[in-house]
Symmetry: D2
Subunit: 260 residues, 4 copies
Amino acid sequence: MRLSITTDLTYRFERPCEVLLLLEAARAADQAIHSERLTITPAAEIARLDDSVTGERRAVFTAHGEVAIAYVAQVELLARDANLKGAAAAAIRDLPGEALRYLRASRYCPSDRFEAFASEEFGNLSGGDKVAAILAWIGEHLTYQAGVSDAATTAMDTFVDRAGVCRDFTHLAISLCRAADIPARAVSAYAWKLEPPDLHAVAEVYLGGRWRLIDATGLAPIDGLVRVATGLDAADIAFMTIFGKAELISQSFAIEKTRD
Amino acid sequence: MRLSITTDLTYRFERPCEVLLLLEAARAADQAIHSERLTITPAAEIARLDDSVTGERRAVFTAHGEVAIAYVAQVELLARDANLKGAAAAAIRDLPGEALRYLRASRYCPSDRFEAFASEEFGNLSGGDKVAAILAWIGEHLTYQAGVSDAATTAMDTFVDRAGVCRDFTHLAISLCRAADIPARAVSAYAWKLEPPDLHAVAEVYLGGRWRLIDATGLAPIDGLVRVATGLDAADIAFMTIFGKAELISQSFAIEKTRD
Amino acid sequence: MRLSITTDLTYRFERPCEVLLLLEAARAADQAIHSERLTITPAAEIARLDDSVTGERRAVFTAHGEVAIAYVAQVELLARDANLKGAAAAAIRDLPGEALRYLRASRYCPSDRFEAFASEEFGNLSGGDKVAAILAWIGEHLTYQAGVSDAATTAMDTFVDRAGVCRDFTHLAISLCRAADIPARAVSAYAWKLEPPDLHAVAEVYLGGRWRLIDATGLAPIDGLVRVATGLDAADIAFMTIFGKAELISQSFAIEKTRD
Amino acid sequence: MRLSITTDLTYRFERPCEVLLLLEAARAADQAIHSERLTITPAAEIARLDDSVTGERRAVFTAHGEVAIAYVAQVELLARDANLKGAAAAAIRDLPGEALRYLRASRYCPSDRFEAFASEEFGNLSGGDKVAAILAWIGEHLTYQAGVSDAATTAMDTFVDRAGVCRDFTHLAISLCRAADIPARAVSAYAWKLEPPDLHAVAEVYLGGRWRLIDATGLAPIDGLVRVATGLDAADIAFMTIFGKAELISQSFAIEKTRD
């Protein structure tokens, strides 16, 4: 399937400041970028700090005044296996070294606190079956609702509140997987069919010898996710980090299928 | 200076479980390992998941019954420049890609919450002078005291409580540096002259184009620190992670100077 | 000084539910209610659960459909002594029994956590001088700013964030006073000169043998505060508690001086 | 049933400081104090700040040096109805005024956060049946375990951790009841058959027109509880509050049946 992505952002920066963008499609085995263009207006010199391990692409530039950021891309998504059933969890010794950090507690995913619950609720399952049960539990017990959570909300808050948005669902899924010794991380993605169109927060678990995308909200098909940023949790995958102050003028996202 | 390190740990594991050890001296430019030996008794097959970026060394093995872990090493420490004054902070665009993650909030270092305070208190300084002021502020306002903090204590807690141990001092230093856009991370280290001998938690900041060790507690000389693990905060640098349950039988550390 | 208060609230209740109102002027020694009228439209039977100790007045009724609540009152305020300097703190044994609870930690005022800070920062002062120093510290270090805090924000959050609104300022003032063994509580008040007109959250401390209003925000004169509800913190003094669900249609407050 | 209570505490106070004791049997309708004696050695003048509403008895004295506190009492307990089934919850308008505060969130019982969960899990029940279901849920999902919680642990922590001690069980029970609009409060009690003998933390709910003791831990029979202090949560019912510093020398409790 080929998707067309169109992102338009306009901000006003009172003083010159550096901006980190994590909004380009990642270089990854399960997606091929056919064409793309990142445009900053007025033109700015872009430094690249791409990550070769995760394929995450990072653009840094200095912004001042009213600045428009446009990203357009055509990305071909390869078929993904969304079936978790029976996928085996790796022994710690068999993990790739870079996966170890995704077993640990992070800012919004204090997974160390969920060990008793994960053991009580999912302890009789393993691997993909366990992850599927975690997703089912979240689907049953959480309500998708804006306004309950904010930038400080952790998976502990969401576990108590029983409501939140995509980042909250993702944080709880990640926390429960890590608590069960399954590496799990956060991924931002352009999500086909997500309404309204937006960058979506999903998770990724290491099972059966590879990373596999999962969506705790169930709002978008796994096959229509274009990977962008990868990290421990929402602290790592914000599409824009402003090292200073700025005012949002406008923001729009569009994701469309252009070919099956 | 050459240091001799002797670590002896004994644990009892009721059932077989995997163990991750982060207790060997790191491979780093500022320290040379002259000799070392990691011994597991009874003997176990050790898998290595070393990290080539930070030089952190990771040993994974399966433990069962009463298990003794011994690590002895002779490490030569090169001279370090502990003087922060005048060291320049890097622009974001000039950071190495792997340093970006150390600008972000983590489990115990919710640096996003400290931006107003860091700006108010240290906003007129920059680079090494700012880090020195942060260390001075911590030295003046925090009391080194066991029993105030526990495994769930964050830098926010410590900022309010005004007391803690080395990991708490380190978490607050890291949080304040990140809030001021200076990459900062946690390092565990064998610390010469630390009393009682133990693995010490210190921080490391990226200034003047390289990582520099700092000790927010001031309890051990920077020149006598043997780097071991490196990570976002205490969640990443525990010297032993047990994927299951174990009982501590005994534990001892010794760090001695064997040559100037 | 005589103040005229006009409060108009309209809510829509899908199903019948009970509503607790804490919005009438309290019966207190330092204010006299010359005239007042609480009107519920459509008319509802009002049960009264007034509190004889604090003078707080509590109206309970059952609401259904679109309901208008109007409160108009003329209140004469007696002169208040806003000068804290030299006012003595009471020994615990000399407190009225009902003041003990205001020494303790509450939902938004975890005063137990602030003991080290209060001792370090204000330990050389006592009584009214200490309270004055706490208010000065807050005035110097906190910024009045909407959007930083929400319904879950505690004094610990505010102490770190260094910003908030009247309830946050009040929570921090209360926490610091209690941490210094001075009974402190929250008061909602109609505040003359507050812009925009609203119910204001202020604090009250027990000094020199009586309760004395203080305003950590400094936004409204103490002499122009009409006491309404009294409690441990914001959890106790909400002007309206709905035991069910409702939608706000409109809300307005007016406080005007009608006589010197 | 008649119980004999013997409490012996010894502390050392470096400097004179005030001490508040909440360790005497309360004056309550369901228990009669046949004899009792509170002894401070060396002798100190005791001020009384008893609470006429809850019957809680409060002794305040000034301590210096090594101080022994002994309390012995014979208390006759009247039969209590431990059967919650069918007990009706009161409408808000029918509550006694003093019960309103026990509907609200407190330091360790942030009941406002549990509304969605309480509604989802117990929403189809009411009154005593709901409270019984809450107790059954806690009994099924929480493990009694020391070392998991500390003085800062809230009901949110315990809900995530799934483990704790009597105060944690009680805080969660109180939070869930308040979230369901049932007034609930904390009570410290001498508990017959509790092993080891200690002051126990239990809860009390307002149902069927009166306060009824419940024990979320199930560790002690309701009929063998001698009420002591009453409050919002553990912040209110500590048996000893020291306004200064002291060192514990020894502490012992004994509760024995002396007559059926």
